[in-house]
């Protein structure tokens, strides 16, 4: 009699384990609450460009990382609209490069990474006197481009 009860108990435990095993995973899953609509599915090419620091002293070397670009594509780097180099995106649509500001004047620069014309993102950096010299984080890899020959000419309107 006890054996039968034990067997039934085991069966119930097994059944509950099967039924509830998925629920036990709940703490490990980020449950989305957002609506499933076309906005959620529309990210055709909406790339982003990030930089390790927003500002630094002239002579800094900034580390840029682009993501969500078309994969394995030739991407062009622009500084304030002027081309400074090219980098290939990897299979996941990411690209990394360094921007050497040695010789550049203080001021704000818009750095754009663009693949063809259909995927483009811009990030700003500012060169300031008295700031720390920025360097890429350890292990950061990617081609280095120089702003030395493409000095930003600030627009001054004298009234």
């Amino acid at each position: 009699m006890n054996g039968l009860k034990q067997q039934n108990g085991m069966r119930l435990v097994l059944m509950l384990a099967i039924l509830l095993s998925g629920i036990a995973m709940t703490p490990f899953i980020d449950i989305p609450a957002e609506a499933i609509n076309w906005e959620l599915l529309a990210g055709v090419y909406e790339p982003s460009l990030d930089v390790n620091e927003d500002s630094g002293a002239p002579g800094s070397v900034f580390a840029f990382t682009g993501s969500d670009y078309p994969a394995l594509s030739n991407a062009t780097v622009y500084v304030n609209g002027d081309q400074v180099g090219n980098v290939m995106t990897d299979a996941s649509g990411m690209a990394a490069f360094k921007l050497n500001t040695t010789g550049a004047a203080v001021g704000q620069y818009n750095v754009t990474l663009e693949v063809d014309i259909n995927a483009s993102a811009t990030e700003s950096i500012e060169l300031k006197v008295g700031e720390q010299v920025v360097t890429p984080p350890p292990g950061f890899t990617g081609p280095a481009f120089s702003m030395q020959n493409r000095i930003y000419q600030p627009v001054v309107i004298a009234d």
Binding site: L12, I23, M25, I29, P32, A35, I36, W38, E39, V155
Partner: protein, 533 residues
């Protein structure tokens, strides 16, 4: 627990010409269609929807051609819904998806009945499938996915019927369904290994005969014959055609779909070859994890354990069916896990269908075991309550995530773009703007003076050249101006779009050291426009 589930091919004396469930539908069968259909109807998008939906709807309504892989069966069957006297054309094509979604549940129920799964287990499993977020969502807008799952379920059911009582017509019927399914969605090829396994592991006299093989091949080709629609439509020069490219003069150059090369380019999906198996090995971990999470969400957590258990039970009871389903599942899962697109979550539906079948079998095994082997069979109502309760919970939980019954955003956005466009304008945009605007133009006849170009159909270089040549001659609207366009034109935000105009006099902007005062002012203005972006 394992010996309770039996499949019909293990039973003796069931040799009727066609299954009675097909010829004598009863209330349960009806409800397996109408219950999910009602759910979808209540949450259906009321008008044209965005992205692929707009493209599909416009192509169906205008007898057009869509991008790879052509989806000819969808274009044909969708036409039946265009003629319905309800709502606008967008709504009618959304309704098509709802019917196909409900049909999937109906056919899956037939499959489970064939596998002798009881009503509670079927309700619990198919209820979770019908209310899985993406299955539900894809049943509410014009899309190819629910037609795909309906045809996939039909192929499976017909193969099971053939297996029960092998005959040439039954195998040919399955081959016809497979061909039709391929005519809707080329991903049907992912089902072929499973189908071949299932047929080839049956005694050879049932399939390896010249007459049978001939009938099967002919039936498959009959199903595939929907592809003839593509060259036929190409010959009629459709106004809506996504198989080609615009050149730098703004002329659309269609791929010649009446040549084998052009036809194969479209139906093989070569345009998307770069996205297929588009991940490196190191990136696959998160993608596999992502699929697992989607599966977990689809079956509301509750369906994971019993689904796995069902796969094991089926493997013990009927290896042939089990391996076929495993091949279906893994072929689809592996392909789409490796497919580098942003909307892949909507493409896992075939894998979800297989999982729902496993889930039902797992549920049934649990119920049978409780009923047959415990000393308290009356407690069997508890898991039944659990299964039905999970479905109700899933409906409640997911409703707000998928409900589109009040979503007019696509129509409103497209109307705004057309209203804001100056006469004779050119509008450049991506999938989220262009196809729905084309729907308003080509289906509803609005603003035929505006030229709308999907950037998917023009190279960056050609688009730049076209814009340069048209700048100042026609108003040009753009969804996201590039660095070159910002440099070469005056950019003004107009609603969702940006109006590109020629630079003002003296604003011939190339960053030079010697700026005049006027060009400097121009540059400053340009900077403020760039901020708008």
């Amino acid at each position: 627990m394992l010996n309770v589930l039996r499949t019909r091919n293990n039973l003796v004396g069931r040799q009727s010409a066609w299954p009675p469930l097909l010829t004598r539908p009863h209330w349960w069968a009806m409800s397996t269609f109408f219950a999910p259909f009602l759910l979808y109807l209540l949450t259906l998008a009321p008008t044209i929807y965005n992205l692929d939906s707009a493209e599909l709807t416009t192509a169906v309504a205008t007898d057009g051609i869509i991008r790879a892989t052509g989806y000819p069966l969808y274009l044909l069957l969708g036409k039946l819904f265009v003629w319905l006297p309800v709502g606008d054309v967008g709504y009618r094509l959304n309704l098509f998806s709802a019917v196909c979604g409900a049909l999937t549940i109906f056919v899956a129920d037939r499959i489970l009945q064939h596998l002798e799964v009881g009503p509670w287990a079927r309700l619990g499993a198919l209820g979770l499938l019908a209310t899985a977020p993406y299955f539900w969502a894809m049943s509410l807008v014009a899309e190819v996915y629910t037609l795909h799952t309906a045809l996939m379920a039909t192929v499976l059911l017909l193969l099971l019927y053939w297996d029960e009582s092998p005959s040439m017509p039954r195998l040919a019927a399955a081959a016809l369904a497979l061909g039709l399914s391929c005519s809707n969605h080329a991903a049907t090829v992912l089902l072929v290994p499973g189908c071949l396994w299932f047929v080839a592991t049956r005694a050879r006299q049932h399939w390896l005969r010249p007459q049978t093989m001939t009938a099967v091949i002919l039936a498959a080709f009959a199903g595939l014959s929907a592809y003839f629609l593509i060259p036929l439509r190409y010959g009629q020069s459709p106004v809506f055609n996504y198989a080609g490219q615009y050149d730098a003069t703004g002329t659309f150059v269609s791929v010649n779909l009446q040549t084998w090369q052009g036809f194969w380019w479209l139906i093989s999906g070569k345009a998307f070859a770069g996205q297929m198996f588009g991940y490196q090995l190191a990136e696959l971990g998160p993608e596999i994890g992502g699929f697992g999470v989607q599966l977990w969400l689809a079956f509301f957590a509750i369906g994971i354990g019993p689904g796995l258990w069902g796969a094991v039970v089926l493997l013990q009871r009927d290896r042939r069916i089990a391996v076929m389903l495993l091949l279906f599942f893994f072929a689809n899962a592996i392909f789409y896990i490796n497919y580098r697109v942003v909307d892949k979550a909507s493409m896992y539906l075939p894998a979800y269908l297989v999982w729902a079948l496993w889930l039902a079998i797992g549920y049934q095994a649990i119920l049978d075991d409780l009923q047959a082997k415990t000393s308290a069979p009356r407690w069997v109502w508890l898991p039944r309550l659990f299964m039905a309760g999970a479905v109700l919970l899933a409906v409640t939980w997911n409703w707000s995530r998928v409900d589109l019954s009040d979503d007019w955003s696509t129509r409103e956005q497209s109307l705004a773009i057309l209203e804001q466009a100056q006469p004779n304008a050119i509008v450049f945009g991506w999938w989220d703007t262009v196809p729905a605007v084309q729907y308003l133009q080509l289906v509803e006849g609005q603003r035929p003076d505006v030229t709308v170009i999907n950037r998917f159909l023009i190279s960056g270089a050609d688009m730049n050249q076209l814009i340069r040549s048209e700048l100042g001659r026609r108003p040009i609207y753009f969804d996201n101006p590039s660095i070159d366009l910002l440099r070469e034109s005056r950019v003004t935000a107009v609603g969702l779009m940006y109006l590109l105009e020629p630079p003002e006099a003296g604003c011939d902007f190339v960053a030079e050291a010697s700026h005049t005062r006027e060009s400097a002012r121009c540059l400053a203005e340009r900077g403020s426009n760039a901020v708008l972006e």
